[in-house]
């Protein structure tokens, strides 16, 4: 489904040169980013990359040091969180420990002074939505981690926020539960198309959930795009390394023309032509990127390599291949048992699968 295919709820969110610094430390460099109404955007990056800062700016928990923030057409740059109509799901849920499930969920409606019957109706509906019917009177501390997570989500959704913000909401859950909650979140988003910003450091989670992913590093967005964009056309070695597995071989770019680069790859002992990431200049430090599943074993004519290690992954096998120069790269292929350690093979790849990226 594409945004707009179903009726969406929520407003767009726009950062215009938004930046945040603490003294000399730049937590977020000036950032431009627009999240369309109804879109699910994930901020992906290692800790300290600025993704939580960006989320807190959207929520209104922090004020930007520079730039502006818009929700819909409204400038909310200096608007405190309580006037923004956002729904926030915290990493450890931040449920009110002295309240029952119902009271937690009803909180945002009570402080809006809605009628009691209206509150009861909406709370009941949202509890049904997250499959917590019958848990209303429980204390939140009696619930399991997964149930608490759903209460937190219900509490954020019940106020019908213009933007839903989630800060690593599945971080505290075990892997299996995480998988099922991910699918649940996706279902909810596809049904309601609520504008959502989701923070995680788990690339798989980002790919499963999002319309678009913004990869962040050192307080900056490195690249924004669909999962396919990021995987097939990463703008640099960091994004390539953060999304999926990758082989990165040092390369020297000698010439660029028409989106193709001529590059010397010393560890291969040859010069080759491949698609190039936009903005790369000849002479800049660069690398040749080939995904492991694109490395073809037994390709003629090819580069000679020796099988250094074999890792069975079930239906796939990962091969660690040592080149004559001593450099290694990984290949992945459908499991077959024709290779063993020490076997000499020739390897190659299709030209369209190679890409030159800045490092």
């Amino acid at each position: 489904m594409t945004p707009g295919a179903v009726q969406q709820s929520g407003l767009s969110l726009r950062f215009a040169g938004a930046a945040k610094s603490y003294g000399d430390v730049e937590a977020l460099k000036p950032t431009d980013l627009t999240i369309a109404a109804g879109e699910f955007l994930t901020l992906l990056g290692p800790s300290g990359s600025g993704k939580t800062t960006l989320l807190n700016l959207a929520a209104g928990y922090q004020e930007p040091s520079a730039g502006r923030i818009f929700i819909g057409a409204r400038d909310v740059t200096h608007l405190p969180a309580r006037h923004r109509n956002i729904g926030m799901v915290f990493q450890n849920y931040a449920l009110f420990p002295h309240m029952s499930v119902v009271d937690n969920v009803a909180y945002g409606l009570k402080v809006r002074r809605l009628a009691r019957s209206e509150i009861a109706r909406r709370v009941e509906a949202v509890l049904r939505l997250v499959h917590l019917e019958g848990y209303g009177q429980r204390g939140v501390q009696q619930l399991s981690g997964g149930q608490q997570q759903r209460v937190a989500l219900a509490r954020a959704l019940v106020i019908e926020p213009d933007v839903l913000l989630m800060d690593e909401p599945l971080g505290a859950l075990d892997k299996q539960l995480r998988r099922s909650v991910q699918l649940e979140l996706r279902r909810l988003h596809e049904e309601h198309r609520r504008t959502t910003i989701y923070v995680t450091h788990d690339q798989e989670e980002a790919l499963v959930l999002s319309d678009r992913v913004a990869v962040m590093r050192d307080g900056r967005i490195e690249q924004v795009g669909s999962a396919g964009d990021l995987y097939d056309r990463p703008v640099n070695a960091f994004v390539a390394g953060f999304i999926g597995e990758s082989n990165l071989l040092p390369a020297r770019v000698t010439a660029i023309a028409g989106g193709q680069a001529q590059a010397e790859v010393d560890v291969l002992g040859r010069s080759l032509t491949a698609a190039v990431a936009p903005g790369l200049q000849p002479g800049q430090p660069a690398a040749l990127l080939i995904r492991p599943e694109h490395v073809l074993v037994g390709e003629e004519p090819g580069v000679t390599a020796e099988v250094a290690e074999i890792v069975y992954l079930g239906e796939l096998t990962a091969l660690n291949l040592r080149l004559e120069s001593g450099a290694t790269l990984w290949a992945r292929r459908i499991t077959s048992h024709d290779l063993r350690r020490g076997t000499r093979v020739t390897i190659g790849w299709k030209q369209e699968h190679a890409r030159i990226v800045p490092t």
Partner: protein, 277 residues
């Protein structure tokens, strides 16, 4: 199993004997005095019940204790809040500021107040100098003096539990409340205050019970004009040699305190870190 029980009993024996001989037996002996008056088993309680003085003193003691508790808690709140927000050097400084008086004898602190609150003491001179009052105020040898001294001594007992409760409040709960659209008053009334309440009530109970039995401070700062129960009991012994009356008065005070504690324990989850995390 039986062997462990014997060993446990042996290990506990010194402590149990110590408490029994030095605390329980004397206490029981004291209370038995209450029932051994010449006038009959319950004669002493009759005397107390009919005594106008005793009733007045009892009432005064409770009123003073309540007032002291109220003032102490009100003063403790901002201090505890500041403590819960401070960090590093300033936190250490503030904490020592609260705890420092603990290391000075109550007697010394009370005498210091006598000097400060005198008719011609520094406080009266300051007030007169500032033009707040023409005549020196009567700050000593009345309930005002007693309350000032007691609040000062008891303040840390209210600050510490309150601070502990405040420090335990997860800041993200307040952010969550804010994000859900609650104004500052709503956040305070619905989230912050309920989470701090156990600490507040714990501190208040502590202060109230301690002030009911306070002796040195009211004796020195209140004098004959502001007699409390503990002073009355002391005077039964030292002035009238009426040991049975003193015992009866002590027993009544102890029972009242125990009853209040029972109610408090019922209402307050003092034993559990109920809102930990």
């Amino acid at each position: 199993m039986a062997r462990y029980r014997v060993e446990t009993a042996c290990l506990l024996a010194p402590a149990v004997l110590f408490l029994l001989l030095l605390f329980v037996v004397p206490l029981a002996r004291l209370f038995s005095l209450a029932f051994t008056d010449e006038g009959g088993v319950f004669a002493t309680f009759g005397v107390l019940a009919e005594s106008e003085v005793y009733r007045r003193v009892m009432l005064n003691t409770f009123v003073v204790a309540l007032a002291v508790t109220l003032i102490t808690v009100l003063l403790a709140w901002p201090v505890a809040y500041a403590l819960s927000r401070l960090k590093g050097f300033w936190f250490a400084l503030a904490l020592y500021g609260v705890l420092f008086p603990f290391w000075i004898s109550v007697l010394v602190r009370t005498f210091s107040w006598m000097i400060l609150l005198e008719r011609n003491g520094p406080i009266n001179r300051l007030l007169q100098g500032l033009g707040v009052t023409d005549q020196p105020l009567a700050l000593l040898f009345n309930d005002t003096g007693v309350m000032i001294g007691m609040v000062h001594v008891l303040l840390p007992y209210a600050i510490m539990p309150l601070y502990a409760a405040m420090a335990r409040v997860d800041r993200r709960l307040l952010l969550a409340s804010d994000g859900l659209g609650a104004g500052l008053l709503d956040t305070f009334a619905r989230v912050y205050f309920p989470l701090v309440l156990p600490g507040l009530l714990g501190g208040a109970t502590f202060v109230f019970l301690l002030s009911l039995g306070f002796f040195i401070t009211p004796a020195l700062l209140g004098g004959a004009n502001a007699i409390t129960l503990s002073m009355l009991i002391a005077s039964f012994v030292t002035d009238r040699l009426a040991w049975s009356l003193a015992a009866a008065g002590s027993l009544v005070l102890l029972l009242v305190v125990l009853a209040l504690l029972a109610v408090a324990a019922r209402l307050l989850p003092l034993d559990k870190g109920m809102f930990a995390r």
